[in-house]
């Protein structure tokens, strides 16, 4: 494994660890975007100038139900401790069920209602354009989220305003809460849709770190926002969760399922014990 693949694997272990303790949460769609967030946080986004910030660039998790990934990845950046991850979804925890700006200083806006975070990211990008700032804005959307009308309002606005500071990433794991996208409400042809809204579109394997890095670092076409259609696997990394809508959420993991999941992620007994001792 490469260094970033090891971090992504750590992110997945953190996700399972926190959801196991929370006794609820969305593992499937959290695991599918672990590679994306790892590459963004560790290789793409600029370093923060002040403490308690993620970056000088902005990241908005529009698919707010993947909060466990946000927290797990933030922990690999030193913004949260493993002990804090254990408090996910509990009453006094800063780790609310969905990202909450009032609880975490490095979160810019509360999300969890699909489509909304995308518009906020678009607004930040518009602000950067007004200021002639070179900072960038990244936002992560779910595939089911694209069924929200607001997403296409925001896509149209971004194309019209030429928001070249903006990069959207679609976690295209093909499954949503109840069934596959194609059964619920088909998204295809997805690349054509974004292109026709004035976006530069890049199709990639959302688990391939080289592809992710190249697509995220590539300069946006002038005056165009950029979208990555990142093909992913729901439940990625855990054999009994992969491609199973059942693990969309919100689920409780039994102790045996927790151990099996951690083992599936290559967790040694020593590492498992380290988690246990937190």
């Amino acid at each position: 494994m490469t260094p970033t693949e090891l971090i992504a694997q750590k992110v997945r272990k953190n996700i399972i660890w926190s959801i196991y303790h929370a006794k609820s949460g969305h593992p499937g769609g959290s695991l599918s975007c672990s590679d994306i967030m790892t590459i963004l946080f560790h290789k793409v986004m600029s370093a923060p100038r002040t403490k308690n910030r993620l970056s000088e660039d902005s990241f908005i998790l529009s698919k707010g139900h993947a909060a466990p990934t946000l927290y797990a990845a933030a922990a690999t950046k030193g913004l949260l401790t493993t002990a804090e991850l254990k408090t996910l979804r509990s009453i006094n925890s800063p780790l609310q069920g969905h990202p909450d700006v009032k609880h975490l200083p490095w979160v810019d806006v509360s999300t969890g209602s699909l489509g909304q975070g995308f518009s906020v990211a678009v607004g930040i990008a518009k602000g950067l354009q007004l200021k002639n700032s070179s900072n960038r804005v990244f936002t992560l959307l779910g595939d089911g989220e694209l069924q929200e009308g607001q997403v296409w309002e925001a896509a149209m606005f971004s194309g019209h305003h030429g928001l070249s500071q903006l990069t959207a990433i679609v976690d295209y794991n093909k499954l949503q809460s109840d069934a596959s996208n194609s059964e619920i409400c088909n998204l295809e042809p997805l690349m054509d849709k974004w292109q026709s809204f004035g976006w530069q579109v890049i199709n990639i394997d959302g688990h391939d770190h080289q592809q992710l890095l190249a697509a995220l670092l590539a300069d946006n076409a002038s005056s165009q926002p950029k979208v990555l259609i990142a093909h992913t696997i729901k439940g990625k990394g855990i054999d009994f969760m992969e491609n199973m809508p059942l693990w969309h959420g919100s689920v409780t993991l039994s102790e045996q399922q927790y151990i099996d999941a951690m083992t599936s992620l290559g967790c040694s007994s020593t590492e498992l014990e380290e988690y246990q001792n937190v």
């Binding site: 009032k102 810019d108 806006v109 909304q116 995308f118 518009s119 009308g149 607001q150 149209m156 606005f157």
Partner: protein, 324 residues
């Protein structure tokens, strides 16, 4: 690019025109003010800002949900965005207002024209009678409904200086001036505009000038009416309401809004915990409007000055009977 001239309000004393020109003036000295529009700038008064501050006027197209989210993002970037549209269409972005603005505590101002029956001939689909109820229910949201062009100017300046989510109702139709100059305006404060000690009328928005006319005319009948204007519906001026309930024998609330959830409900909530006098609510009695001129509609739905006077007489009778 300009809108058809027929869309632009012609009356200098309409609340929407006053808002647009006041905000445009504020923007001369505050470079962080932005206006977001959903293709109704000619109708909301935002055209004043557009003509003076082209670079800071953000056309969002007819897409209110996105407009609200974009405003939250602009607030994160350090700007003071003013989201402008008709009150009904503001509700189109209500859930976005809830999460991206209110729950996230963003410095976004929502300013809506075309509230209530004041909309007139466009009819029920455009006459928003639910906005105050909706906005008032959001934690942390300030809700304003000033009464004339002078006060709209003052309230607009107060909004520029206030940091946090806020909603303000303006108005479509020409509206008589209540004030002769720009009044003092403090968010959260009520204003006693007419002294009286028999009963109290509490009003906001376009109902205030009608309430004042009613109070002045009732003096000739020997009825002494206090008029309290409550331009801030949230946070409401509890002390002024409680004092009026202690000093006068009954209260009447007047609003161009459904009687459920608006100004009358806000006052009722205060009185429920401080019961000194009964409250009678005037507004749309849980019915929707229809086309017509604003004055015709006010008469039809019992919200004009004669209706307020009649209500006051009935209330006095009822209270006196009760006291005997």
């Amino acid at each position: 690019m300009s809108n058809a001239p027929t869309l632009v309000g012609q009356q200098s004393n309409s609340l929407r025109e006053a808002f647009g020109s006041a905000l445009s003036e504020c923007a001369n000295t505050d470079p962080t003010i932005l206006v977001l529009d959903a293709d109704v700038a000619g109708g909301t008064g935002a055209h004043h800002f557009r003509s003076q501050h082209r670079q800071r006027f953000i056309q969002c197209g007819i897409a209110e949900q996105n407009m609200v989210g974009v405003a939250a993002g602009l607030a994160i970037s350090g700007y003071k965005p003013f989201v402008t549209t008709f009150a009904t269409f503001m509700l189109r972005g209500f859930e976005q207002i809830r999460l991206s603005v209110a729950y996230s505590n963003k410095n976004v101002k929502l300013v809506a024209s075309h509230p209530g029956l004041d909309v007139g001939p466009d009819g029920a689909s455009a006459q928003c009678i639910e906005d105050i109820a909706c906005m008032r229910s959001l934690p942390g949201m300030v809700v304003l409904s000033p009464c004339d062009a002078w006060e709209v100017r003052a309230a607009t300046k107060a909004l520029v200086n206030y940091s946090g989510p806020a909603y303000m109702r303006t108005g479509r139709s020409p509206c008589p001036n209540v004030f002769t100059e720009e009044p003092e305006f403090t968010i959260g404060k009520g204003y006693e505009l007419h002294y009286g000690n028999d009963i109290t009328i509490l009003s906001c928005g376009v109902m205030t000038h009608r309430a004042l006319s009613a109070a002045q005319e009732l003096m000739t009948e020997g009825i002494s009416v206090r008029v309290i204007h409550l331009p801030t519906i949230k946070p409401i001026d509890e002390n002024m309401i409680i004092k009026a309930a202690q000093e006068t024998s009954a209260l009447i609330s007047c609003e161009d809004h459904n009687v459920i959830g608006g100004l009358g409900s806000a006052i009722a909530e205060v009185l429920a915990e401080n019961p000194s006098a009964p409250l009678f609510r005037m507004g749309l009695n849980d019915v929707i409007g229809r086309s017509g001129e604003p004055d015709e509609l006010a008469a039809f739905y019992g919200l004009d000055t004669p209706s307020i006077k009649e209500k006051a007489r009935q209330v006095i009778k009822k209270v006196n009977k009760h006291e005997q």
